[in-house]
């Protein structure tokens, strides 16, 4: 902040209005707190991406290859030919403005270049110049401009201020998916080595070791063993997860954030308790893998090829273990990749069986081709068939609301299953306002690889519309718990709440399930998975418990 403080003589010249220049003439000012650090060259090199070197966005020289303009132009051309949607999205926007005020980053930052239409114009302006006759002849009159270093820097700054959440696409009368434009833009930037480290290093780790943090198989087991002890302390029951079991019925894959980052760890314990319950009662046979130990796919934020490589290891592991199908945990973009891209990328997964719940016999027809079922669908089905012994009163101290994660809601249409599960394991559930949930949900502000520490202002402004709706239900209904089904959400929402609505905590849905789930041989269950006393269960009179 210190270097941004104006001098006294500047202070007396109060300017009441922002400069009235159009967007194309407004220079980009790269501001601390709004961008993520450049990628570590070792990570870039490891996955064979181009131009690995140390560079700093705040320095003048970004150490680009000499022919970078040619690389971008050629890359643009190839993608226009390869992806028809990209070509159509470049051509058909009429700049009606329907998307303009729908982006959480625009609403929160107030920066017009975060209007989805303008973010897309960053690319379109160069497209018009390089690939259309009208643009070449009319130039700026046609909204065209040649690629330059300033334009490139503007691309980089604003394409990494988009979480690819697709809220804008819901409102576009032409169905333009601006997230796809960001995806293409980032792919082009990767051709000349302009990625961020919060994406590049998880990608390298995931490719090499199997998960974002680079946790090796033995450490992965250590962590789950630690949860086994914790669960025993809380419930008195010792669960026994299976690892890398060949011939198991089902393979379970979840984001590694659930294994290594609070409060996701409590959700992870939730899965373990649920699987134990099902194993004891119904002989459920599920295995964890220490090799496919990551559901998240940061390749999605890098390039189609990188996404494909990271996605393939999940299916390779399913093949190696010889399971029937895959059950997936509470993750965001893992599901978008599975639902939107996997089938034509690595699929169809013909070597697996069409998923059928071994307990209820329900066929998950929506997963016919990908062979991967979302855990909230699986659990909702169990509850619907009365297969779980639940005591929702253990969640009575919680007033819960539900944040639809962008990827599972807009990316695959999961709206009701998580709500159904929550309402069966909690007695107090309150919805946020209609224009902030389901397909209209507001992003957490940290998706698509933007969940770093150094871009905190971007995250807090981007998350403002979500936090604002949480604040509303907190003030109106006393909501104190925000549930979600995404590991990025579980990492991003706690700091967001801490700044905007500090009275609200964050949980995964299966943490709530596990706290309500009765296990055979359990103790009095006086504490929850966070080791916090459950009000009214111990040492309090019945009267107090009623309150």
């Amino acid at each position: 902040m210190a270097e941004e403080l104006p001098k006294p003589e500047e202070l007396i010249q109060i300017q009441h209005h922002s400069p009235k220049t159009d967007w194309i003439s407004t220079p980009t000012n790269i501001r601390k707190g709004m961008y993520c650090y450049a990628s570590n060259p070792k990570s870039v090199e490891y996955v064979g991406l181009p131009n690995a070197r140390e560079w700093n966005p705040m320095e003048e020289d970004w150490k680009l290859p000499e022919n970078w303009q040619e690389i971008i132009h050629q890359g643009f051309k190839e993608r226009l030919e390869r992806f028809r949607s990209f070509k159509v999205f470049m051509d058909i926007c009429v700049r009606c403005g329907a998307c303009a005020d729908k982006c959480h980053y625009f609403i929160g930052t107030g920066d017009p270049k975060n209007m989805p239409v303008l973010r897309a114009e960053l690319l379109r302006s160069v497209y018009r110049n390089d690939f259309t006759r009208a643009g070449r002849i009319l130039g700026k009159l046609n909204g065209a401009r040649p690629m330059s270093l300033d334009v490139l820097k503007e691309w980089w700054y604003y394409l990494f201020q988009c979480s690819e959440c697709r809220r804008c696409s819901v409102f576009c009368p032409y169905g333009i998916d601006t997230a796809e434009i960001t995806i293409m833009g980032r792919e082009l930037l990767n051709l000349i080595g302009l990625n961020i480290d919060w994406i590049a290093t998880p990608v390298a780790n995931c490719y090499r070791t199997g998960n974002h943090l680079g946790i090796q198989p033995h450490a992965f087991i250590d962590m789950l063993d630690f949860f086994v002890d914790d669960i025993e302390e809380v419930t008195g029951v010792r669960v026994e997860p299976q690892f890398n079991k060949k011939g198991a019925d089902i393979l379970f894959i979840t984001p590694s954030g659930d294994v290594f980052a609070d409060p996701g760890t409590y959700t992870c314990m939730g899965y373990m308790m649920l699987f134990h319950y099902l194993q004891e009662k119904y002989g459920f046979d599920i295995t964890w893998s220490t090799y496919a130990s990551e559901g998240g796919n940061f390749g999605f934020f890098t390039s189609h090829e990188t996404m494909k490589r990271l996605n393939s290891k999940m299916y390779a592991e399913a093949k190696r273990l010889g399971v029937k199908w895959i059950l997936g945990g509470e993750c965001g973009h893992m599901w978008r990749v599975i639902n939107q891209y996997m089938d034509t990328m690595n699929g169809p997964a013909d070597f697996l069986e069409e998923p059928v719940s071994p307990i209820t016999g329900t066929k998950f027809e929506n997963a016919k081709s990908t062979k991967m079922v979302h855990i909230t669908e699986f659990t909702a089905d169990l509850i619907k068939h009365g297969k779980l012994d639940l005591d929702p009163s253990r969640n009575d101290h919680l007033k819960v609301t539900y944040h639809d994660s962008c990827n599972t809601s807009r990316g695959m249409g999961i709206f009701d299953e998580p709500r159904y599960v929550i309402q069966n394991v909690c007695n107090h559930f309150y919805e946020m306002p209609a224009n902030t949930i389901r397909e209209n949900t507001f992003c957490c502000g940290s998706g698509a690889g933007l969940n770093a520490g150094e871009d905190m202002e971007l995250r807090l402004t981007g998350g403002l519309p979500r936090a604002n709706a949480v604040k509303y239900v907190h003030e109106k209904h006393g909501v104190n718990m925000l549930a979600c089904i995404c590991a990025i959400d579980r990492a991003a929402l706690p700091p967001l709440m801490d700044y905007w609505v500090p009275e609200v905590n964050v949980t995964g849905v299966h943490e709530l399930v596990a706290n309500a789930l009765n296990l055979a041989g359990q103790n009095d269950r006086t504490i929850d998975l966070r080791h916090e006393d459950l009000p009214g269960i111990e040492g309090e009179s019945e009267e107090e418990a009623d309150e």
Binding site: M1, G110, P465
Partner: protein, 182 residues
């Protein structure tokens, strides 16, 4: 404050609030200002709605006694937003001082009376105090942002040490992050 100025402000309250709000949103880019003024849904436009609600209350409250605590309740949400946006500290708080200009312009004729000029001077001192209060809140917010970042980093490093088996007793050493509104 004498009743003369108070009554005058109350009579023209709507106009004053509107002009003050307009001046406040002019600190954003022109397209953004239009959006902040035009979109009335509080969930589609949290910045505009928080600002207009806050300004309305602040003016009401300034006409009463200067109660720091109550004023802070309504000033906090506006400053909390501006503290994370692309503003310098002075830009983030400048909108409060702009109320002076708004009053002088709106009540131009009436303020020619000498008695009212004295009252205006007293009222403007209150605006100055409000601006100082805004600086306090602004700094609290900035400190909070750094605290959140520091906590994230600390927890990440702590967990890494823990996984590496370098932490002997988690029950004793695990840092508990306090969640407090500063």
């Amino acid at each position: 404050m004498g009743k003369g100025l108070k009554r005058l402000i109350e009579d023209k309250k709507n106009q004053i609030i509107k002009t003050w709000f307009d001046a406040s949103v002019q600190t954003y880019a022109p397209d953004t200002a239009e959006f902040l003024k035009g979109q009335k849904d509080p969930f589609a436009n949290p910045v505009g709605n928080t600002t207009i609600n806050g300004l309305t209350f602040l003016l009401d409250q300034l006409l009463k006694d200067f109660d720091r605590k109550t004023l802070a309740t309504y000033l906090d949400p506006i400053i909390r937003i501006r503290a994370v946006q692309n503003f310098t500290p002075s830009q983030a708080t400048e909108f409060i001082i702009s109320l002076k200009q708004v009053l002088r312009n709106t009540l131009k004729k009436e303020l020619q009376e000498i008695q009212l000029a004295h009252e205006l001077s007293a009222f403007e001192s209150k605006i100055d105090q409000l601006c100082l209060l805004a600086f306090d809140i602004y700094m609290e917010c900035r400190e909070k942002i750094y605290e959140i970042g520091a906590n994230e980093t600390r927890n990440r490093i702590f967990r890494a040490f823990e996984r590496a088996g370098l932490v002997a007793d988690t029950a004793v050493y695990q840092p508990k992050v306090e969640k407090t509104r500063t």
